[in-house]
Symmetry: D2
């Protein structure tokens, strides 16, 4: 059982291969994509931000880290298949039991984690980098707080068909100059937890420096944080041994 | 109480002012937009299609017509305010009680009927005619049967923000060449009835001649048809005078 | 345009007839249902709570009150028809433009306000007061923060079929001892605003003294509060006079 | 690419252990639960119904069967863990690519198939057999065609919290005499396919003889059938090599 927390433990997980192996990518994100994300989350005194990477021990998420994480951000691309199934199952379980929110960024759409947690093959179409306009489709939603009706990015093309479940809330949709659209911001309730998928974040583009992308991720961390759940949620199907209505004296 | 019907009574309601008063519009739709729609629904022997127009007696929908209509299609634009509130209330009631499906086309987004039935102000932004690409977002849905992953139209710009409720099913989304997107095909359950909104259909453009637009409207008529409801649905709040569980002999 | 507010102006609107005219009801809520609700919202220093009643001048919501209200709570029953259509339209507009959240309680399901804002006839079935068990269906949702998996009330029977739109989030469902169920906590995004419907609150029962009901309403006030919207939302359909993609230098 | 089919190939998969090993269960379903289901689907001349069981070769679903199945029904309970992960992956892929609909019955909530396809741990609470009242929550939905507003069963208790994603359509909800409720009929769009979960069907109870349960399953088979999809859907992320808007001659 959890009390509402004054400090959120945020873990930014990054595959962290592109930035180390490709100069063009390193030039954009010298501290890694995760390092860049940490830099704009850190100023918030209510967040305690840690970094994790695929090539760290235990793929960056040993139990003591995972089990103290309130919100997990996930960026992966070329090495999805290397992530251990056991780790995916632990993440999935933690989200479903409401212990942790999950934010999946860009090419994470094809990660084992996203596919397993949300229930999708994660398939989409993609293409050359180009101009994108992100549209705010749900101005009442906490993730759109402070975001204008639209803003522009230069991004890798991600486009429909995107074979995801209809989201509980479709927050952003995007226009791409070559004639394509994409549902680019998606909220899912899963089990007792929450998941946000957000499309921007190609490793050669500068979206994580965009102030609106930053604000959206900041908002999403707060939105995805675990709720104050005051009863135990285990992974199992408890057997009810009593009549709940006995107390009514029928 | 209704049995599943072998013949659907379809009424195509059209404001029918533009086509009579503007040559350019008359040239595109010489029999009116409603006449054009009837022409591609008529070949289906399971449909009995009637026409109705604002300037007909009782605004085209006297009780004997309305009360025998299974699916109502609605196109209006310049004269939304002329439609009688009493008629709107009758339509709303018939949809909510599951007697009739409703398909709202193009500028009908701002009709009293759409706003009252769905719960919206119907507001959107709009602009010059331009190239549109309609994307199929839900290939498993009956309204997308036979529709490719995308198709092209030349249409009036309709764009986000579109202040509609999140639909039960978001079926189509559209790209517009000037940098805009629009949720262009929306399914709503309302009461015991169903509503489909579809964006194409500007009075000067030829969308109602497009084979995919035609197929979508044909599909939507079948989707929106009243369900086989085997219990009475009145407009009111019945008082329950018994314990349903008495029969269990507690 | 609005900044995120540190203080929320909450107006609790009550029909306030039962409590003045019926002794049994007065005995339960001597200060009115609205007074009782105010009493458990007032301790929160971030809320500025005002009372409004049908028989107050301008039905309790003159423009200066309505236009400074961030969250409106609504309880009505016997006098729904007396509420002015013009006032309903003002409330609907304010919610749709994201200026105000709306919380509708108990018999407010049949109010003009609920029906117009959400898009429903508000119909349900009802019956004798009895034992109710409220089930928490979405433990990750902010409105269920601090609420157990279930809790008990003694309430007027409200039961399915409830002819409301499928909610964006179904938060609570209720069991009633006579054999009935009810979707008892419903979240709706409408326009740029948010609406919560909550079933408990019969004028002769003591639900507004229940600590979980109180916590839920406290949570709902925070959830329904207007978002930080940084662009103008008027009631109308603006015409776009430019190509958004011109800046890309195509 | 598929044409709309005049005949649907339906495969009823059953774990088929209880009925062979437990007399009480054999007495209720002497031909197995799958045999009983086949018996009430067979009279429909548009359905071609086959049986499959866990202990059949290749767990009942060799490729030639699976790849010619339009709708798969799934009943499992004590041997969920025996179902091969490779088979689960094939089923999941076929549903996501819109080749096959999936109907999961009763204790199938905890099957690998349901958990993987929908994105859930499938957890619920359960208890003794008792009186259940199933309520029709969406009378406009094709799965409720011909179903009254409620009907009664005697069933194993399944109750909330049920840790499933919010469904696209919540079709049925159930009251249980001991004080519990359950979301008992759930529709999910997943990828290009459709999934229906339905709670009745305990191996010792007679729900599959109930005429409403039978009608619901008949309706669900039609609802879940693959759509007429006219473009290829492979399992992968195609790269777009062209500008779709080039044809517009910008």
């Amino acid at each position: 059982m959890s009390e509402k927390k004054s400090i959120l433990n945020v873990t930014v997980w990054n595959e962290y291969r592109h930035e180390r192996n490709e100069q063009a990518c390193h030039d954009v994100y010298p501290d890694g994509i995760h390092g860049c994300i940490k830099s704009f989350l850190d100023p918030d005194p209510t967040l305690n931000v840690r970094l994790a990477a695929l090539d760290d021990p235990e793929q960056g998420l040993p139990d003591e880290v995972l089990n103290s994480t309130d919100v997990l951000l996930w960026w992966g691309h070329m090495a999805h298949h290397e992530v251990s199934d056991a780790l995916v199952e632990k993440i999935r379980d933690r989200v479903y039991r409401g212990k942790m929110g999950l934010i999946v960024l860009h090419s994470g759409h094809h990660s084992k984690v996203f596919k397993a947690v949300v229930g999708t093959n994660g398939n989409l179409s993609w293409g050359r980098d180009q101009n994108e306009i992100v549209w705010n489709l749900l101005p009442g939603h906490p993730i759109t707080a402070g975001i204008p009706d639209h803003f522009e990015l230069f991004e890798e093309l991600y486009c429909e068909p995107f074979y995801v479940p209809q989201p509980d809330e479709l927050v952003f949709g995007s226009w791409f100059e070559d004639g394509f659209i994409f549902r680019s911001g998606l909220c899912y309730y899963r089990g007792a937890g929450k998941v946000f998928y957000f499309q921007p974040g190609h490793e050669y583009d500068r979206s994580f420096y965009n102030p609106y992308v930053r604000r959206i991720i900041q908002n999403a961390v707060k939105w995805a944080a675990p709720n104050e759940i005051v009863y135990p949620i285990e992974n199992g199907c408890p057997c009810i041994q009593y009549k709940l209505n006995d107390k009514f004296g029928q």
